[in-house]
Every structure is written in structure tokens, then in C-alpha cells.
């Protein structure tokens, strides 16, 4: 397993301690959003929130192209889904004029309706104003005006094969199917990846006009046919900022790495401790080292408790492309902690050393200033945390 050449410092789009940039954590929860502004040392954090108290916020993302625009994917228990946009880092918000929505179905046909927008990804650096949104049920949407109006990406949403693989609202996770991990190649705005739970990993070379599955090597639940794209369940896919030809994936069935141009994923999670396994939701990658990535395993045995394994939460890191893994639990609860870290709720900043952040289903926000060597609780008593982003406002 060859180690990848490390990129020159500064290639990452994330924050850098040496540059004096500060980290702001964008925390999306079941009952609102919070921003936590860190000091230069990432020791103290100022809570800013709640924003949208009572709204179900799936994702809050900063636009790295201007360092101040935020998009938030929202709905409430009563109200349908929408997108809010802030041009001043959350001081004021404005609702999208046309949120993600499927086209009206022909008379007599059962049309699809967006239940919630689950995932937001800023477009390429050369395309300011462009963003992608992944929804539940599965749908990909794009805006070219900074999030005010969204159009369906028909090349995916209406492709007959994809409609079949996507299934209906009943075919996904317990909280509905999720289209997630929309990735824009930093070298090419037309080159996209995405994941569908369930429904596989897919690639487009033409800005979403057409797509092809990228599931070779990925395993499916025992007894099912891996040649059926619908059975593949990627939980989180990441691209290395230091080497965009390297992809990492935390799947329902293991941890994987893919080095392009290969199309075959390698299950690198086999080397995780057998008592822990390689099942989980989130995965994050090092901003400058393509061989380093972190996961936060969960219990995927029997009835799938999806809690920390044995009630002992821990991150695991590989620093050699997945050949070996090391447990990182110092400071985390030593026992009887049964929370879960969802797929969007783990983040890495661009600092040196890298800061790591984990949000839990019990509303706790944990941080590490030293790449996971030591953890401390940054906030508790928040609502269930759905997503954490480590942003670097300009």
C-alpha cells in the first residue's frame, strides 16, 4: 500500500493556525443551529445561538469562497423544507425564493416531494454562487444564485436506472433515504461524486448531466447481491484535500479507500480491532496528509444499536492510508456513554495540529486540539446534533 505524496501546506481550503484564521463550528441540531466561535488557540468558544430555535436543521455550511455566507437546510415538525441564507455569518437570514423541490408529476402519477434537504456542498472555487443540495428522498439540486433558487439535477433525479436504485421514501434509512457526500473535485468543476444511503457511490464527469456507479469492491449486507446498486449503503464519503484522487468512505459494511483512476474500493477497515469493527457513520480526512483519516465507530452488531461500541466512545486514526488504526479516547467517557455520532457530525479544521470536532446524539460537542490525542467537552445539553462543520470565516 503506497503512501501518498503530501501536498504543500496551504492547499487546503480550511482554516490554518499559522495564518491566524479562527475556527467557527457550525452545529446543526434537531431543534436549531448554533455557531461556536473559537479563539486563536481553540481553547475557548463563544456560543452564538440558537438560530432557528425549534427548527430541524440538517446542515449549516459556510461558503469558503467568500468566508461569510452561510446556508442552512431547515424544516420544522409542521412545515415543509426550505433553505435559509445569511450573507453576514448568521446575523441575518433570508429564505430561499425557490427551495429544492421535484418537478410536478404528470396527472395520475405519484410525484416525489422533498421531505428535507439533508446535505449542502459549495460549488467549485471558479463558480461563485453555485451550490449543490442532497435531499431525502434522494434528489440532487443545484443553485447558481447563491442559494436563492434551486433546480433539480435531472441527469440524476430522472435517469430511469437511478430512479430504480433510489427507491421510494420507504427504502432508505429509518429517517428516510439520504443523498449525501456531494463532492466537487477541486481541480475540475464538472467532476462530481455523491453517495446515496442506500443506493451507492456515483460519479459524474459532466457537471451532473450523466452519472455512473462507483461501487466495485464495496460490500453489502451478508446474503444480499453486491451487483445490485440499490443494496450499497455508503454512510459518508470524503475526498482528500491534499490529493483529490484519494477518496475515503465509511460504509454500512466497512471502511474503504479508493485511489483514482482505479474504480475498485479497498476495505481498509479490516485492520480495525476485531472487538470494535469498522462500522460507523462519519469519516474525516486530514487537510494536508492524504494518508491520515479518522473514523468514529459504532456498534453495528445484532439489532444495530448504533451506539459507541461497549459504551466507550473512541475515534480511530490511520496515518498510513488504512494499513493500521490507533484508538483515540483520552478525555472521552471511559464507560457507560451510549451516544452516537452521525455521518455529518464529525469535522476536522485546517489547523496544525488539526482540530477535531464531534457532535453527539445526546447534544454534546467534543473537541480535540491535537488530532484526537486528547478530547474535551466543548458544550453539552444541546439538542440532538445532526451535523458539525469546522469553518474558517474570512
Amino acid at each position: 500500500m503506497a503512501a501518498r505524496k503530501k501536498a504543500a501546506p496551504g492547499r487546503s481550503r480550511s482554516t490554518s493556525r499559522s495564518g491566524g484564521a479562527r475556527t467557527t463550528l457550525l452545529v446543526a441540531t434537531r431543534k436549531g443551529a448554533w455557531l461556536f466561535h473559537g479563539d486563536a488557540a481553540r481553547r475557548t468558544w463563544r456560543a452564538d445561538g440558537p438560530h432557528f430555535l425549534g427548527h430541524v436543521i440538517s446542515h449549516v455550511v459556510l461558503d469558503p469562497r467568500d468566508g461569510r455566507t452561510l446556508l442552512a437546510a431547515a424544516r420544522t415538525g409542521h412545515l415543509g423544507p426550505t433553505i435559509f441564507r445569511s450573507a453576514d455569518l448568521g446575523k441575518t437570514w433570508k429564505e430561499a425564493s425557490r427551495p429544492p423541490a421535484f418537478p410536478r408529476a404528470p396527472e395520475g402519477e405519484q410525484g416525489r416531494a422533498v421531505d428535507h434537504t439533508f446535505w449542502l456542498t459549495p460549488g467549485h472555487a471558479s463558480e461563485p454562487g453555485t451550490w449543490y443540495a442532497g435531499t431525502s428522498p434522494h434528489g440532487l439540486f443545484r443553485t447558481e444564485d447563491g442559494g436563492a433558487s434551486w433546480e433539480p439535477v435531472s441527469g440524476l433525479n430522472d435517469d430511469p436506472a437511478y430512479v430504480k436504485w433510489m427507491g421510494g421514501p420507504q427504502d432508505g434509512t429509518p429517517d428516510g433515504p439520504k443523498l449525501h457526500s456531494v463532492i466537487v473535485d477541486p481541480r475540475d468543476p464538472a467532476h462530481l461524486y455523491l453517495g446515496m444511503s442506500s443506493g451507492g457511490v456515483h460519479e459524474s464527469l459532466d457537471r451532473g448531466a450523466s452519472w455512473a456507479p462507483l461501487v466495485q469492491g464495496m460490500e453489502v449486507v451478508d446474503g444480499f447481491d453486491a451487483s445490485n446498486i440499490a443494496f450499497h449503503d455508503p454512510h459518508c464519503v470524503r475526498v482528500s484535500p491534499a490529493d483529490p484522487d484519494r477518496l475515503w468512505q465509511q460504509n454500512h459494511c466497512g471502511i474503504y479507500r479508493l485511489d483514482r483512476p482505479s474504480r475498485e474500493w479497498v476495505r481498509v477497515g479490516r485492520t480495525m480491532p476485531r472487538t470494535v469493527g469498522d462500522i460507523g457513520f462519519p469519516m474525516v480526512v486530514h487537510p494536508r496528509d492524504p494518508d491520515t483519516a479518522w473514523v468514529f465507530p459504532m456498534d453495528g452488531t445484532s439489532v444495530w444499536p448504533r451506539t459507541a461500541v461497549g459504551g466507550k466512545p473512541a475515534a480511530f486514526v490511520t496515518r498510513n492510508g488504512g494499513r493500521t488504526w490507533r484508538r483515540l479516547a483520552a478525555g472521552l467517557p471511559a464507560a457507560q456513554a451510549w451516544w452516537t455520532v452521525k455521518r455529518q457530525a464529525m469535522a476536522a479544521d485546517g489547523g496544525a495540529p488539526v482540530g477535531l470536532y464531534v457532535g453527539t446524539t445526546q447534544g454534546e460537542l467534543w473537541s480535540s486540539r491535537d488530532e484526537g490525542a486528547r478530547w474535551s467537552c466543548l458544550a453539552r445539553h444541546l439538542p440532538e446534533i445532526y451535523a458539525v462543520e469546522a469553518a474558517a470565516p474570512g
Binding site: T76, G77, H78, L79, G80, T82, E95, A96, S97, P99, A101, F102, P103, R104, A105, Q110, G111, R112, A113, V114
Partner: protein, 85 residues
């Protein structure tokens, strides 16, 4: 007609009671959306289905029919029903 706006939608209207016009429930909702853009989509999905926790009462009678005629003097109550923590 007079329309009772539930609390989750008052960030749009700023008022508990508003006036709207139309010959059908659909037209009344369209009129509300003209005045407060985005409000309709929070209640009605892109396939013109009433969202699960939204209820409309015209003169006290529950209806799911957006084509239901409304007559002068009738009122519309929009109710949002949600349970759980």
C-alpha cells in the same frame, strides 16, 4: 376572507389574522403566497399535497380538497398539529 395563521407561520405574516381572497381554497393559498412568498410551500408540497401536519378548516369544516369553493363571509383556519418531543 379572514385567515387564522398558526404560530409557526407568523414569521411570514407577522399577524395572527390576515385577509386573503379567492374563489377556492387553492386561490386563497395562492393569494397568501403572493403576499408572503414561500408560505404556501411550507404547507403544500410540490405535488400539491397537503403536508402531513397541516390541516385546513373552512368555516369549521376540515378539508383536504384544495379545490373546495370558499364563499364570502367564510373564514379559513390553518392548524398545525404535531405531537412528540
Amino acid at each position: 376572507m379572514e385567515v387564522l395563521i398558526p404560530t409557526p407561520l407568523r414569521s411570514y405574516t407577522g399577524a395572527r389574522l390576515v385577509d386573503a381572497s379567492g374563489a377556492t381554497l387553492a386561490e386563497v393559498l395562492a393569494d397568501l403566497d403572493r403576499r408572503w412568498p414561500g408560505l404556501r410551500f411550507r404547507m403544500i408540497d410540490e405535488q400539491d399535497r397537503v403536508r402531513p401536519h397541516i390541516r385546513f378548516f373552512v368555516d369549521g369544516e376540515q378539508t383536504f380538497d384544495l379545490g373546495r369553493p370558499v364563499r364570502p363571509g367564510e373564514s379559513l383556519q390553518i392548524v398545525q398539529a404535531l405531537s412528540g418531543g
